[in-house]
């Protein structure tokens, strides 16, 4: 595994919290996200272990002292039966797709490495997911579950949505974050508005893009 990208060290999108860039409802929604991390309600403890390891593989955060919580929000979405509105015909309902998907990943880990998924080192977890995405699977649990569809469009999709809805992720990528009622004035390239942080362009692009 390679290092985490840090194109904008020191940039914190939350610095704008008390400015006209943030309105009441946005503060309320984001505060809720930050302060009230939901408890496990939906998944069984064993499923939870796999889920947590899956989240950590889809978006590893070794660089963060306090990682963005992912698994709790997946669990909350399942508990609320919150869906994306698309049920791929090849897949069961969303809750079932998650349950069976986690079980299949765990089974795949056992089939390939003889250990449960969450017990694998990070690079093994990553290559296992790559194999699943390439539909190169052995466990019988995949029989009627299309691995790529399930992995990309259900599992990773939800985890990624949660990660990039978190202010720390906004800071990481240099996103300006909430902007209402105050938006932006300077729309041209390489110009920032006075109320935007100086993102400090990284010294060499190649470092960042590798």
């Amino acid at each position: 595994m390679t290092d985490a990208p840090r194109p904008y060290p020191g940039y914190d999108v939350l610095a704008k919290w008390d400015t006209p860039s943030w309105d009441a409802i946005t503060r309320e929604v984001v505060a809720h996200r930050l302060d009230r991390v939901p408890e496990r309600r939906f998944f069984e403890p064993a499923e939870w272990e796999t889920l947590a390891a899956l989240c950590d593989t889809v978006l590893p955060q070794p660089d963060r002292e306090r990682p963005i919580p992912l698994a709790p929000f997946v669990d909350a979405a399942m508990a609320e039966d919150r869906t994306t509105g698309t049920r791929w015909a090849a897949l069961p309902t969303m809750r079932e797709a998650w349950r069976r998907g986690l079980a299949a990943i765990d089974a795949e880990a056992r089939a390939v490495y003889g250990r449960r998924f969450h017990a694998l080192p990070a690079d093994a977890r990553e290559s296992l997911l790559r194999a699943i995405d390439d539909e190169d699977v052995r466990a019988p649990e995949w029989r009627d579950l299309p691995p790529r569809r399930l992995f990309r469009h259900v599992l990773a999709n939800e985890i990624v949505r949660i990660y990039y809805a978190h202010p720390d992720a906004w800071s990481e990528i240099g996103f300006g974050g909430p902007a209402s009622p105050r938006g932006y004035v300077r729309l041209s390239a390489n110009r920032r508005d006075a109320w935007e942080a100086d993102l400090e362009r990284p010294k060499r692009r190649s470092e960042r893009r590798k």
Binding site: P20, S180, P181, R182, G183, V185, R186, R191
Partner: protein
């Protein structure tokens, strides 16, 4: 019971606009009527008015160019020239005692030059934008016409320095008055063109936005006519329309303040809205030109006697 429909260009607003415009002209006419008995010679009065005009123009340019170039992030060093040059011109007009006459002349000549150069810089900016000389660039690249206001400020400043030395009389006053009138006409029409472009960009969403594209050209016509044949009636008409234009410039600033309030977040979001809403300092440049025009009218008056 019929709920209120979201109001747009309401009849009331149109009526108000018409009323206000008529009011402006009538008010100016009334002010022109009860002029105090002339004690001071027309010439010094002209000098004072031209200097006031120069000050207003320079002040307007200072505020406007600072704001606009700030909006552009002062990404190019030359963008500091406009505020610095107009700032000096402002000082020379407001506190002539602080500079020698030569210095004042240099400062104002500098403003004229900076204004002319500004057109070129802005043209370069326009041409570099995709679409080059398209409407989109006219609206959103550096405004081609804007530096003209600085040229005007410089010219008015030069004229003021010129007039303070002595009272031109007779043929000399006529000549000076005509030159001043010419500058006024050019200033009024140029400023109108700039406003027309910007108000067109704003889709004339408020009927009041027509006022500054209608009144100043009328004033310019009257001034030109008076300069051609400076008889009493013509001069009076020119003065009335110039005064109305001057008042309109001040009223415009108030309208623009209202415009700031109408943007999202209103005055609370001033850091954004001062930049994107109609520019507060722009309309008074009409007042500046009109004042200078009144100065020219006095010179013509002087020549008539």
């Amino acid at each position: 019971m019929r709920p209120r429909v979201p109001s747009e260009r309401s009849r009331r607003a149109v009526a108000l606009t018409a009323l206000a415009s008529v009011g402006l002209v009538a008010g100016a006419a009334w002010v022109s009527r009860r002029r105090p008995p002339r004690r001071r010679p027309e010439g010094s009065r002209a000098a004072r008015q031209v200097r006031q005009g120069a000050a207003l123009l320079a002040g307007s340019v200072l505020a406007d160019s600072t704001m606009e170039h700030y909006r552009g992030g002062f990404h190019n060093r030359t963008m500091f020239v406009a505020p610095v040059s107009s700032g000096l011109a402002l000082v020379s007009a407001l506190a002539p005692g602080m500079m020698t006459r030569r210095a004042r002349q240099a400062v104002n000549a500098g403003a004229v030059g900076a204004g002319l150069a500004g057109h070129l810089f802005h043209l370069r900016n326009v041409l570099r934008r995709p679409g080059a000389l398209s409407w989109e660039s006219m609206f959103y690249a550096a405004p081609l016409g804007a530096p003209g206001a600085m040229t005007l400020a410089g010219l008015a400043g030069l004229a003021a320095t010129r007039l303070e030395t002595g009272q031109p009389r007779g043929a000399e006053a006529l000549r000076a008055g005509r030159i001043g009138s010419l500058g006024t006409v050019a200033g009024l029409l140029g400023t109108t063109a700039e406003v027309a472009l910007l108000h067109f960009r704003g889709a004339f969403h408020n009927p009041m936005m027509f006022a500054p594209v209608i009144l100043p050209p009328l004033a310019a016509l009257a001034v030109a006519d008076a300069a051609r044949r400076p008889d009493r009636a013509r001069l009076r008409l020119a003065r009335i329309l110039l005064r109305a234009t001057a008042a309109m410039g001040l009223a415009g600033a108030a309208f623009h303040a209202w415009g700031v309030h109408r943007n999202m977040g209103g005055w609370r979001n001033w850091r954004q809205n001062l930049q994107v809403a109609p520019p507060l300092p722009a309309p008074p440049s009409f007042t500046g030109v009109a004042l200078a025009g009144l100065g020219a009218a006095h010179l013509l008056e002087e020549a008539r006697r």
